[in-house]
Symmetry: C2
Subunit: 153 residues, 2 copies
């Protein structure tokens, strides 16, 4: 399968399949709305990401089917002698393609993009309710050195 | 003291004092370079932040003295029905002003900015080596629901 998978920036035509995939998830089902037509907030967010040179919405596609998604944000910081870092968020793979190296492929793509952009660090947070995710990221070389804190507004 | 503190976006003139404060820290001392003239990477990072409408470098100032700093990043995401979130990074207060509500003032400022920008969530990661920081953020209402993973590139 790996040879048929392409990693590329998402287009607006991919958005319906992306939202369907975000919704088809233990946590996603409680917070996403997958309806026709797609709620306009998704389209507005897509346009904001597309217009921002420091944000990339990346999909893994196999033919016309979207089977994985993630967002990469590049941020300049004063800390660490004024350096850029990459943040990965919203990594999802389609339920029918688990265990085939697709998640790993997405993260490797993000690492390569981060290197190309001159980032000194790549980071993400993962919900403590996702038991397998921590081990998955540790296998790829991430260290769980930080607590990830959130507050709803 | 509180009445004399102003929270505002940093200017390039503040940068020397900001870097001095980042360096004067248990972890910062191992990774920052506070020299005259300031390493150009700090100046380049400042200019990149200043030019980006989704990044704000915020200082707490008392007269001409910079006594606190943080960076706020606003990011549009597809997840959570296409919504914006705010990320706080690099929060530091000067050693001479600890325990006077300055850290709390910085975070309250960030929360207000996040609300003004329509963010549904505000987030940060804190190094597990910073024992007091976790309790500080929890007192302000953050929940440590996530693991914060990093990888150096």
């Amino acid at each position: 399968m790996k040879n048929d998978v392409i990693y590329r920036n998402a287009t607006e035509e991919d958005l319906d399949q992306i939202v369907a995939m975000l919704w088809d998830d233990k946590l996603g089902r409680t917070r996403e709305r997958y309806e026709q037509p797609l709620p306009s907030t998704y389209i507005e967010a897509f346009k904001a990401i597309e217009a921002d040179p420091n944000n990339e919405l990346v999909v893994a596609s196999a033919g016309h089917k979207i089977i994985g998604v993630q967002q990469i944000t590049f941020t300049p910081y004063i800390t660490h002698q004024g350096s850029w870092r990459a943040t990965i968020e919203g990594v999802r793979t389609s339920a029918s393609h688990r265990g085939k190296g697709l998640g790993s492929g997405l993260i490797q793509y993000a690492i390569q993009r981060a290197k190309n952009r001159g980032c000194h660090l790549i980071q993400l947070t993962t919900d403590k309710q996702r038991d397998d995710a921590l081990r998955f990221y540790e296998r790829l070389g991430f260290k769980a050195t930080h607590e990830g804190l959130k507050m709803k507004l």
